[in-house]
């Protein structure tokens, strides 16, 4: 009984592998270039990368209040 289950499972795995093997792929060089280009094109809009001037930083350090 368990052999039938194992065979059924193996068949499902084979079928799944066939589906995954059959997809269209692009070359690593192309995929890498496009990721690199995306980073470069968006770099100046990335505050954590280029830094945030204090005047535009919503999280700039809170100054202590002095009660006069």
């Amino acid at each position: 009984m368990s052999t039938t289950n194992n065979i059924a499972q193996a068949r499902k795995l084979v079928e799944q592998l066939r589906i995954e093997a059959g997809i269209e792929r692009i070359k690593v060089s192309k995929a890498s270039s496009e990721l690199m280009n995306y980073c470069e094109q968006n770099a100046r809009n990335d505050p954590l990368l280029v830094g945030v001037p204090a005047s535009e930083n919503p999280f700039k350090d809170k100054k202590p209040c002095i009660i006069l």
Binding site: I7, A10, R11, L13, V14, Q16, L17, R18, I19, E20, A21, I23, R25, I26, K27, V28, S29, K30, A31, S32, S33, E34, L35, M36, Y38, C39, E40, Q41, N42, A43, N45, D46, P47, L48, L49, V52, N57, P58, F59, K60, D61
Partner: protein, 315 residues
């Protein structure tokens, strides 16, 4: 031919198909890129209020409110600008401020029919106003209708518990990282597994899509983060160091995708140059494991949550 023979042949064909696309490496392509230099961030806010380990956090869509969940069973909604808080509370979706609805759902296990009072840490992704994807604890993922509380689709195929999900920017697919050391890409509508990515050597605890949806990063108990590309169907980069030997709990990209932020069991968060593979900085300040982190939609800050019960906002 026996099924086992067939399996072996198919696996080999898959391996060969991937290899034939390996005409270069990400490192080679980015060799001419300027390095990012030393990335230094300061703690801008420390959010104090939880009484136990924090295990999940999520930013609201306004890049200002955030919600955190703790093992003490409480949820807190924070205004990160002022550090004012709402809660602790056990909220309902209706009472949650609108920018936070998707965040609330992501940190609070939402099995609507059974777990409104439950606080199980569960990876989840809000698909739209009425649908959520979660992992179901039996190695499958599920798509739920929030209103009816019914499970409408099951995504089966992993052979280990699913630890993390990330929804693609176009919301038509998602990736799941599991304890079987693999990541699967699922089509939301037909529930098919389109691709399986291997390479990690232990449980995958975290996954996160690259901003353009063509790649994703992972964090694992094998002490490495990796970058996988969907269209090349393979791993492009590994982020590791000989003196990093502990697991990664959480990962996120900065807005341009150039920086990869990862939270570790050794209490730190490392900042990696995602394109060149070098470590660019460290966020040190927690007194226990970093369990979760997130970057705001506007890219302005990163929040880290820790077993030390605090959240910190950095930029």
């Amino acid at each position: 031919m026996s099924e086992l023979e067939q399996l072996r042949q198919e696996a080999e064909q898959l391996r060969d198909a991937r290899k034939s696309c390996g005409d270069s490496t990400l490192s080679q392509i980015t060799a001419a890129m300027d390095p990012v230099g030393r990335i230094q961030m300061r703690t801008r806010r420390t959010l104090r209020g939880h009484l136990a380990k924090i295990y999940a956090m999520h930013w609201g869509t306004d890049s200002r409110l955030l919600v955190s969940a703790s093992q003490d069973g409480k949820l807190i909604i924070w205004d990160s600008y002022t550090t004012n808080k709402m809660g602790p509370l056990v909220p309902s979706l209706r009472s949650t401020p609108s920018p936070l609805r998707s965040s609330w759902v992501m940190t609070y296990n939402i099995c609507p029919s059974t777990c409104w009072g439950g606080m199980l840490p569960s990876p989840a992704a809000l698909l739209d106003d009425n649908q959520i994807i979660t992992s179901s604890g039996d190695t499958t993922c599920a798509l739920w209708d929030i209103e009816t509380g019914q499970q409408t689709t099951t995504f089966g195929g992993h052979s280990g518990d699913v630890m993390s999900l990330s929804l693609a920017p176009d919301a038509r697919s998602f990736v799941s990282g599991a304890c079987d050391a693999s990541i699967k890409l699922w089509d939301v509508r037909d529930s098919m597994c389109r691709q399986t990515f291997t390479g990690h050597e232990s449980d995958i605890n975290a996954v996160c899509f690259f901003p353009n949806g063509n790649a994703f990063t992972t964090g694992s108990d094998d002490a490495t983060c990796r970058l996988f590309d969907l269209r090349a169907d393979q791993e492009l980069m590994m982020y590791s160091h000989d003196n990093i030997i502990c697991g990664i709990t959480s990962v996120a990209f900065s807005k341009s995708g150039r920086l990869l932020l990862a939270g570790y069991d050794d209490f730190n968060c490392n900042i990696w140059d995602a394109m060149k593979g070098d470590r660019a900085g460290v966020l040190a300040g927690h007194d226990n494991r970093v369990s979760c982190l997130g970057v705001t939609d506007d890219g302005m800050a990163v929040a880290t949550g820790s077993w030390d019960s605090f959240l910190k906002i950095w930029n």
